[in-house]
Symmetry: C2
Subunit: 403 residues, 2 copies
């Protein structure tokens, strides 16, 4: 029987985005080549909410909730009924399939909270869970903490096709071998790839055929670039009881400081998520929940402008990385880039530390997302000029430390 301590070996967070301050610098100075590269620190581990500021109205909605007092401080564990009702309507329109406000929605502390609760509701010790590779680093860790067994299904993170390149035959094999849960992010984190309509329908068909429940993390699905199309799994004919969709306003809308997420779909799973939330954190902070009143209600043109600005940063960085010998897939949504590094004379973790200490750039190592020791992930939701300048430094560093 594993002791409580063993399970935490899989949960290392020192390289997780935002935790860099807890890393020791170690002997990184001894490895250094060349001179320090000047420039203001750019932290690509998460979006810069000072560059892309929070969607308007959030603090006002929060203050009104404080004013409302007790009824907003102590909501149902699944969140205030009136807020869920308004959201259910907007999410039904956005995803193209009905959402039950009472039975089929739960407000959570961020999408991280929703992911943990959904997997906690679905995964028992020993259960196999199909996980895309690469995908959001916490997916694997949550499954492991719950005693489940993550089974990787590769996705073509270097591909150039219009499809994501998920290995559907492999997915079928994993389902056939007994996985009862499939978890994936769409757009994919870390690549920004969007699954094609054909791929999403194939996932729905396979899940139906093998009685698999799918958790679709659609956190970044609103930030969709010019000319791209997005297919919502929950509108593809899979039984309602087989899909939970997760979204939240932390990224595109820059509301991360409020820690809000929502899961919607299968009532029996939402029920169990609420029971689990009762012992994990009771509820998303009551006053914060009110900020969701502003979500999907941004001023005319606000979202289009935000997308346009991100697309401009994306295009400049892609060009720089590719010209500099760092192949990178084109993100079709969201604000992540996942460039591939050349063979380096230092380890990936040392290179990431060198980037921070020599070049004032914080990135997340690819190993957080799977066995990707030649990749780094960047959240390019940053000021345009500083992001581009930092990308130049990354390219220069890759040249400097090339084997």
């Amino acid at each position: 029987m594993p002791s409580a301590f063993d399970r935490f070996a899989a949960l290392a967070t020192d390289s997780a985005p935002g935790q860099e301050v807890r890393q020791s610098t170690g002997d990184v100075g001894a490895l250094m080549r060349g001179e320090p590269m000047a420039g203001p620190l750019v932290d690509f581990s998460h979006g810069d909410v000072d560059a892309f500021t929070p969607a308007p109205g959030a603090l006002e909605a929060f203050s009104q909730a404080v004013e409302a007092g007790g009824r907003q401080a102590y909501t149902e564990y699944r969140g205030a009924a009136d807020i869920r009702a308004a959201l259910a309507e907007r999410l039904a329109v956005f995803t193209g399939a009905p959402v039950s406000p009472d039975a089929g929605t739960i407000v959570t502390p961020g999408t991280q909270g929703a992911l943990f609760l959904a997997l906690g509701a679905l995964v028992a010790p020993g259960d196999k869970v199909a996980i895309v590779q690469p995908d959001y680093f916490a997916n694997r860790k949550i499954v492991q903490f719950l005693g489940g067994v993550p089974v990787p299904v590769p996705m073509d993170y270097l591909g150039t096709s219009t499809e994501a390149g998920l290995e559907l035959d492999r997915l079928r094999d994993v389902f056939a071998a007994g996985a009862k849960v499939f978890l994936f992010s769409n757009p994919n984190n870390p690549t920004g790839v969007v699954y094609s309509a054909r791929e999403i329908r194939a996932i729905a068909d396979l899940a139906g055929q093998f009685d698999v429940t799918v958790v679709a993390d659609q956190l970044y699905s609103r930030l969709l670039y010019d000319g791209e199309t997005y297919t919502h799994l929950r509108a593809c004919g899979l039984a309602d009881e087989r899909v939970v969709t997760i979204m939240g306003p932390s990224k595109t809308e820059s509301l991360s400081g409020y820690r809000l997420g929502i899961a919607f779909g299968a009532p029996s799973i939402i029920d169990r998520m609420e029971k689990l939330q009762a012992i994990v954190s009771l509820r998303a902070a009551g006053y914060n929940q009110a900020v969701l009143r502003t979500w999907f209600c941004e001023p005319e043109g606000w979202m289009a402008n935000r997308i346009r600005l991100h697309q401009a940063v994306r295009d400049d960085m892609l060009q720089l990385f590719r010209a500099g010998g760092l192949p990178t897939r084109t993100p079709k949504a969201g604000s992540y880039l996942f460039p591939t590094l050349p063979d380096l004379a230092v380890s990936l973790s040392d290179f990431v530390r060198l980037l921070r200490h020599q070049a004032q750039v914080i990135v997340t190592p690819g190993t957080e997302f799977g066995p990707h020791d030649h990749s780094i992930r960047l959240n390019f939701s940053q000021g345009h000029a500083s992001a581009v300048a930092a990308a130049r430094r990354i390219v220069a560093m890759a040249q400097l430390y090339r084997r």
Copy 2:
């Protein structure tokens, strides 16, 4: 092997405080005796933050954090370093033992979050965990969700001694039989009992002797009534690595809508709690964390006045319950009462539903806290007059439904 579904049987929340809105009224009308009792609804399932309003300065601190932007939105998972540093100083003074701001503190989404993370860091499947009976209902449920085995240690919830009346011989037996974790709330929830200095020292001695880690939930330890003394376990000589203390501003300070808690003590446990927080909710909402800047910094006299007002409600309700044939221990801290009902002609769950539908009173059934089917729990942090009027209705209802 249990399926994911089985584990949720133990996590029923329909009778949990605040979830009454999800209960069906069932056939309660058929059981009703007498006429409806008029009066405004009083919800004793939690404190009324409209009657006892939030400690001053919270919204201002929150707004300043929003203004500060990114650095407050994206803190370390364990919480902003400067906020932890300030808290560590105040908590060291309050508890009488040093607190390490960097290694020994973590900010969590409420004390509920801290409890889940602490147990998640300490309990592996099959582990025995000593739990006081009665005690906070989530304690048992968290242990069960983690696959641990709660082992009850009775406390004299009807007692009249100056001690809590924890069965220390039983505690020793449970430790000797292999429990490696002991979790208890002090003041006790649901009774408001405070453990004596002798009892706390005995707990520390036994934990040291049997190498047990103690999680001390001290959520209500600031609301201490006239003439009472409080002993902090962490200042009783137990090794630092053996104690985690949990507190938060949700109750006495009425800041529940911000969902903030803190755990402090054993660095190795705090480390694991942070790793777990990374996959459970990332961090306590960044802006909300700033509200902790106001904690333990209330205006002169604010806390004394809050205690005085609660003591007045407590005394009137105690008198009413005792005169009405509902024996009740005197709470020495906090705002819970745990009266014992006479033998009733209806079940406890029906009586609780009748209280709600016939007498406009919401209480929590004693069965949430252990095998206490003749008890109800009330949070008397309510407006004085309406609390007293509701207590009269409870006494009248107990007479009406007496067997």
